[in-house]
Subunit: 414 residues, 2 copies
């Protein structure tokens, strides 16, 4: 029994699309949530659309209009129905189990966003009604992924949007957030690349952010940023197994032996751009980077090598942005001749990430030594306080990750 | 070209579920609407959910919960997604045709209703945003069937809800309303019963209300009531044929030769209840009718026959209410003995309706004469100023309707 003298514990639980993909899974999720409610907790469930619903809606729109993806406002209106369906169904399943659940859409949870349709940012959450309903019923089911712009239009939050919704609601309620999916936690490396990667019991916000931006497909960085700023306790676990998942924390617990490297991320969505025959001129580099920046092209792995008055600039961009690179360079280098641009799509970025690097010495030596022994060709390298990243030929990405995982003891012991 | 000195004509066009059942039909509807916009009209389109969407959502809910139909609030949350999908898709199709269309859901069109989930009543419409968007764009696509209760919950308007939405929006905008479906107008009798029934060019609100409440499956009476009260010009036509449809008007035009009978309605959803062995006592009848009324059981075709101090009361109720009749009677007749109740489900109500009856004489004679020649057994009869209705054995309903249609010249001439 909950102690009436103590305010009841509140938690936000987020369930992804595969967790609510059909009627059986919805009932299974309801059983998990009901058990928590009945032990005295107050629960906000945040749900994604059922399984393949989002793709089905996209296909339907494409059937109607060849330009559908350009009608971002209407696409958001369409897509927002997906979470409303799963929220209503989960509320029904919870009521069957004796929980007085209520579904709530973006209007009802007061999820105010910008009007950047398809990729809106959360501006504010008015959790007044959530709090009232939680007090009255103990459980509400809220739609993830969607918000409402100031003019009343529905918006969606873009990739990783439901995680972001859940974390933002938890921040507003000042309670922990648990993210459930078909993956049972955060691994030291994507198990599809390194099958015997260790599962992490703890990872810091900072490491999660670096891993997300280094290509690891775990929690989306926007949600983690909010969790970090607003001090939301985060947990990632499996919907249907009882395996312990991963806690995302501000600082690793004192008693934990801190690893030097926490995880290794592989990003195959990178293109290397090589620019040759430039005069050695810092002002020129600035113009190049500015022209790329105004086009919102994110650069990574920048290296500048100059010799004998001639410079070569190398950087990587994400695959989707590569088409905008040449126009940017042409604008920046207008009037100059003799320069050439070379694009290499067969590259990957491999990064080792860990807050433990700050305290350890000799990490770079171990890192490059491991790659050398594995005969990896390093095409470029950058470092930050908690990360070392290299650009390698795509065909060597798996071997590079494997060498680093072994070197830094990130595999499960056999 | 529209005359800029004159305010542009506004119209509400409502398209039912079969009119937007798939991508092809949505594009075809868009073409019709776009042509109207491009000729200078401002158009509000009100849409139902696509074809079988509503049934699909009901099935999905039934898969999740055996009690789903009892969770009326959650069912409304679920069902309201159907119109949001079709509205967004139609807006996209319109944009492909050069119309700057915008979809709007119940929140955005300000459709305020009671919180009677599953059968909410419209309380108010704030058409401010519709007007602004119409001025800016010329066309908006609004969701039918759904509303928002004062607490922000989604509601649905029940049977015929999208017609009601469209007529209410037209009333708020003080403009005409055109209802499009797969039927090309209102017929003097359901063509599935009388295949050569005349299509009506005009019908009065009053006749439509009587026809709807007499079992004709045309416009739902709630919408017609609003149109009548708020003087909304109504038109019913086919989505995909250019056949002229039916105008629903306050008064038939002067130049039109008014028929005596406008239409014949057949209602097979009736049950006859016969109550015998009551003492002749008006106070007792009142108690019976009151007990039925508090249970919201609508009575029709009431006859009371008394002889030698003993009375028999006969009335009809709609099939779905029959289970509540005996408890009501037991409550009303508590302490009395010797009465018995008999239920006959094999009956139908056949009604002849026409504002022309008020001016014509000998209508009842023609009505019963026609039934007599067709050897119809009349089990009960009631009349109002514009209607004569009889209860007949269900097996004779078609013959009775046919006899009346012929007698009152309501069939297409061969």
């Amino acid at each position: 029994m909950a102690n009436p003298a103590r305010p009841p514990r509140i938690a936000v639980l987020k369930y992804g699309g595969s967790s609510v993909a059909d009627a059986d899974r919805i009932r299974a999720v309801a059983a998990k949530v009901a058990a928590r409610c009945q032990s005295g907790e107050r629960i906000v469930v945040v749900v994604s659309a059922m399984g393949k619903t989002t793709n089905r809606l996209i296909d339907l729109a494409a059937d109607v209009s060849g330009n559908s993806s350009g009608y971002k406002r209407e696409m958001d209106m369409l897509m927002a129905t997906g979470e409303q369906v799963s929220a209503a169904l989960l509320a029904m399943a919870l009521r069957d189990l004796g929980c007085d659940a209520l579904s709530m859409n973006a209007y009802q949870i007061g999820m105010l966003t910008t009007d950047a349709y398809g990729g809106a940012r959360i501006r504010d959450i008015d959790v007044g009604r959530i709090r009232r309903e939680l007090d009255a019923r103990g459980v509400v089911v809220a739609t993830g992924f969607q918000g409402v712009a100031e003019n009343g239009d529905l918006t969606t939050l873009g990739r990783g949007g439901s995680d972001t919704s859940a974390i933002a609601v938890a921040a507003a309620l000042r309670c922990p957030c648990e993210i459930y999916s078909d993956v049972d936690g955060v691994y030291a490396c994507d198990p599809r690349i390194i099958p015997d990667a260790k599962k992490l019991e703890y990872v810091t916000y900072e490491e999660m952010l670096e891993m997300a931006s280094s290509g690891a497909k775990v929690l989306h960085s926007r949600g983690v940023e909010i969790a970090d700023k607003q001090q939301v306790e985060l947990y990632c676990g499996s919907t249907f197994s009882d395996e312990r998942g991963t806690r995302i924390v501000k600082n690793l617990p004192e008693w934990l032996e801190h690893p030097v490297v926490t995880g290794v991320a592989v990003d195959t969505d990178q293109i290397k751009v090589n620019l040759r025959g430039l005069p050695e001129d810092v002002h020129l580099y600035t113009r190049v980077f500015n022209e790329l920046a105004v086009r919102c092209i994110n650069l990574d792995m920048i290296t500048i090598v100059s010799e004998g008055g001639e410079a070569a600039v190398t950087f990587s961009v994400i695959r989707g942005d590569v088409g905008m690179v040449r126009p940017a360079l042409e604008a920046a280098l207008q009037g100059l001749s003799g320069w050439s641009m070379n694009v290499d799509g067969d590259v990957a970025k491999v990064s080792a990430i860990g807050v433990g690097m700050q305290a350890a010495s000799g990490v770079a030596g171990r890192f490059f030594g491991a790659l050398e022994r594995a005969r990896i060709d390093v095409l470029g390298a950058t470092t930050s306080e908690i990360k070392i990243a290299v650009l390698v030929p795509r065909a060597q990405a798996q071997s590079a990750a494997d060498a680093l995982m072994t070197e830094f003891d990130r595999k499960v012991e056999k």
